[in-house]
Amino acid sequence: MATKVPLQDPNLDPMIDPRTGEYAVIAPGHNFKSVTQKIAGIVLTSNTPLGWFFGLIVGATVATGLVIGLTWLFLKGVGIWGVTIPGAWGFAIINFVWWIGIGHAGTLISAILLLFKQTWRNSINRFAEAMTIFAVVCAGTFPLIHVGRPWLAYWLFPYPNTMNVWPQFRSPLAWDVFAVSTYATISIVFWYVGMIPDFGTLRDRATMPLAKTAYGILSLGWRGSTRHWMRYETASLLLAGLSTPLVLSVHTVISFDFAVASLAGWHTTIFPPYFVAGAIYSGFAMVLTLAIPIRKFYNLDDLVTLRHLDNMAKVMLGTGGIVAYGYGMEVFMSWYSASHWEFFMMWNRMFGPMGWAYWMLILTNIAIPLTSLWSRKLRVNVAYLFVLSLIVNTGMWFERFVIVVTSLYRDYLPSSWGTYRATFWDYIIYIGTMGLFTFLFFLFVRFLPMIPMSEIRMMLPQTKVDRGGEAEHAIEETV
């Protein structure tokens, strides 16, 4: 991913590696102790920054909306939402797909980029994984409350019961249960396994007795033994290798929820790849939304450098391109299929009563990002990337809105056409999940190591073992 043209004179900016002309992944001058102190200090300090309390309270306040919304929902039922016939799927499924898509970037960074030996991922993988888990928590809420009687949601799982009733495994909705529950479980396990050595560091550096005990238990007694490290590295690699097909399959299965139905606009074979690309696209946008304020607030510019932001913007450019191809193919197929229904669906999507949503989607997901991200100046412009990440997340929400709503509200039979209008309760629950996400994320940055210390140590030049004139080691690529 290295471009050779430096943005400015390398002599002027210490962050630019003079050999490659590229921004360094880690600022020069760091050693094992300094990175450990910097990252562990954020967690172990007794001086919690006031801004943290402010953010936590904002998150908690917004999450109260979720609590209120869910309480009213459980009292009254899903009738308080805008869902109706024919628009039987509304915000719940849109938000579910949106949130779970956001989670995908975390797994991509922690698994796929690990397999591809992209060491720049090390600084951002922990909080990207945290983002995945919190996004899956928010996503998982929606199918549970959408079933109408959430206290019976466990019926989704196959378990022996006195009714002798079992799930129907030919249904994509049953596949969803397996895909999403596996995804949540493996993400949590991968995240926790990744943190074990860092918990050991926190245990050894903590001064408060409670912190010592808590991190000591979480570390499972990690002592950095070489035999342990070797098994640990194997397990991490295996988890990465397993998460890669998992993350690709999760959004594929979610796209089956649509693609297996025989509705115009849903029944297409392009859905799986285009859903996965869209998921990664929105996920990287969310990583940028989170990483940019965090690196500013905690002064982490030397560990999360412009190189990371640049690389993430490049991934967005690539996946955004796939998404654009997906949109183009949908339009092409609606003509090429020679199906009257497909053609009408696309016309209705573009120029019908909700056409504005389609053009909004094209503007925010394609027009703005895919024209500007080619410029390196903009890719390393932190403020621009932050605004862009918000734009893309809006765009990806509109994508799901367009797919879900425009295919449903005007289907085959004009006499059954209707419309869809979200209610106050739809909005308050959706916005409430954003509060929940923010709340969980603030707890995470305060109590857990948000950058993997052991992996950052491995990127330092001091790791090189001098074997007396033996061949150069693979450390080279990490510098």
Partner: protein, 180 residues
Amino acid sequence: MPPREGIYGLLAEFNTPTELVQATEAARAAGYRRMECYTPYPVEEAAEALNVHTNRVPLVCLLGGLMGLTTAYLMETWVNVWSYPLNIAGRPLFSWPAFIIPAYEWTILFAGLSAAFGMMALNGLPQLYHPVFNAPNFRNGATTDKFFLCLEAADPKFSLTDTRAFLEQFPAVSVVEVDH
């Protein structure tokens, strides 16, 4: 079981991974076998010096994956063909292509859990107590920036005086006795 009394071993502390690897290689060449390195991040050269090349985590993971695959597939078949057969739009009861998807997910689920918990089990974790934690300098460095080599007393070649003299010929920051 190693003896629970007396000392567990001698722990040498190094500043760089290179010094650790050289000392470990020399200790192995000198005939020591019961020893372990402790490092703040995985040092592959140390594993080579200890003659540790393979581990059984991949096998555990494979077995877990196969178990997940067969469990899910057999369960789906039993449920939808025998226990609770439903006619869904005339599709065959044994809809094997549709059954692949949950089976695929459970393959990954079981394999992933086996890899993670298998790694912990093979490592003997959780194990909150270990003698090396008794060394006064261990916790300050082993998880931050220091590299340790522990020659264990259970080794037949171990002798408090000779082994200490052996370790002190390397540029170790310190060589300390580790109690049980």
